[in-house]
């Protein structure tokens, strides 16, 4: 799980061009949207594509994203449970 969290942080930094950030700058429980990392709806689409491409998880209902993408912790937990890749 810890390895997956670090992997996710690095993927987020690359996919969303979070210039000047490292995995250490993101806490596991930091909110990804709003006050935390400040991601927006376009980033949400990027994350949905990343989940499908890298872990074989299709998020059909965008509303599910609200809970899945709450933080690195919630993302990692969801991936552990549902991954096909």
């Amino acid at each position: 799980m810890e390895e997956l969290k670090i992997e996710l942080k690095n993927k987020l930094i690359t996919a969303l061009n979070l210039e000047g950030m490292t995995a250490d700058d993101i806490n596991d429980s930091d909110p990804l949207f709003g006050d935390g990392l400040g991601l927006d709806s376009i980033d949400a689409l990027e994350l949905i594509v990343m989940m499908d491409r890298d872990y074989g998880i299709k998020i059909i209902d965008p509303k599910d994203g609200k809970t899945i993408f709450l933080s690195i912790e919630t993302m990692a937990a969801y991936i552990e449970e549902h991954r096909n890749k």
Partner: protein, 352 residues
């Protein structure tokens, strides 16, 4: 009613340090460089960290250059935003196409797709400025910027618009550069050459953005008057001299009244000879070149316009631009540019 068209604000991000308002006091030497990289401004002074992370260099450079021009002119309300670009947002286009190939046309991400269109720059500036006015992007090869300038000139002189932001912008991306090097249009990475006494084919590859605020109002800050613009895709039925003389005649000027000609010589042995024909018309004018300092890009005429504005404002010509002894006062500048003997353009400017 026919008004006049003045340049009241300028901004430029280029391989030289133009983003700090200086005028070639310090020159970056790109000798033997086939790729000219932009001298980067502090983007975060102009763009929020949240926005900047999605922007390619064309968008970032243009936001900085347009902000500089608008700040100088002290303008908020625009009647139009018009840009010219040769390659558009080619970096995001490459990213998107690479994604298509790498992931077998599946898993396409939105950001490079959204930002890969040619009008991304004009659109982003409009979004940031909350400007809902006329917004247009010309993509006509090396005539992209002169096309944008002509559009603005016609709107301003016909009094359809009072204040217009125009810009020329290009960026380069690795795959596109490699393709043009394979085609022989760009010099190979290891080519040794003397830009001003060149014996090799192909040009250098560069990028940058230059923006201008045009207005029908003459102000204290005014740099120059845009007198006329003309361009042709191909010189089918006439040569460079005829085309130029006709242009000067319609502006009631003779060649010896032009103080400086600014030439778009780009170090390509095959096509730089076209400029020799043009130059022979102006034996008493200062001959200036700029692409040895700025490299070649399809919207290089925008860089030439920026340099002309600086020459008018300072009434001085940096030695690094002049092929002969620079004169001390400049009233008219004629810019001539072409790319591989196509897309010939003339831009005539007057000191005010």
């Amino acid at each position: 009613m026919k008004g006049k068209c003045y340049i009241n604000g300028i901004g430029c991000v280029s391989p030289q340090k133009t983003h700090d308002g200086s005028f070639l006091e310090e020159v970056i030497d790109f000798r033997n460089a086939s790729v000219y990289e932009v001298s980067k401004p502090d983007y975060q002074k102009y763009i929020s960290p949240v926005s900047v992370r999605r922007m390619s260099s064309a968008v970032k450079n243009s936001i900085v250059a347009s902000s500089m021009a608008l700040d100088e002119a002290g303008v908020d309300d625009l009647d139009a935003i018009i840009t010219g670009t040769g390659f558009g947002c080619i970096q995001d286009s490459e990213k998107f196409l690479k994604g298509l190939i790498d992931h077998d046309e599946d898993f396409l991400t939105p950001t490079p797709f959204i930002q890969s269109t040619h009008n991304t720059v004009a659109g982003q500036i409009a979004l940031l400025r909350k400007c809902r006015a006329y917004n247009f992007t010309y993509v006509n090869g090396a005539n992209s910027f002169p096309s944008a300038l002509l559009d603005a000139l016609l709107q301003i002189t016909s009094m359809e618009a009072n204040t217009i932001l125009i810009g020329g912008v290009d960026e380069m991306a690795p795959h596109t550069r490699a393709l043009f090097q394979t085609l022989g249009q760009f010099k190979k990475n290891d080519t040794e050459f003397d830009y001003l006494d060149n014996k090799t084919e192909g040009c250098t590859s560069s990028e940058g953005s230059a923006f201008f605020v045009l207005s029908n109002e003459h102000m204290e800050e005014t740099y120059a008057e845009v007198v006329d613009v003309f361009f042709l895709n191909n010189l089918v039925s006439q040569d460079v001299k005829t085309f130029t003389i006709e242009f000067l005649t319609r502006n009631n000027l003779s060649p010896n009244e032009v103080d400086c000609v600014l030439l778009g010589k780009n170090g390509d042995l095959t096509f730089d000879v076209v400029y020799d024909d043009f130059s022979s018309l102006f034996p008493s004018s200062n001959q200036l070149v700029f692409k040895h300092l700025f490299g070649e890009m399809l919207t290089a005429p925008a860089i030439a316009l920026w340099l002309s504005c600086k020459i008018f404002k300072t009434q001085s010509i940096p030695k690094s631009l002049a092929l002969d002894v620079p004169r001390s006062s400049v009233n008219y500048i004629l810019i001539y540019n072409q790319y591989r003997n196509s897309d010939h353009s003339l831009m005539l400017l007057k000191n005010v």
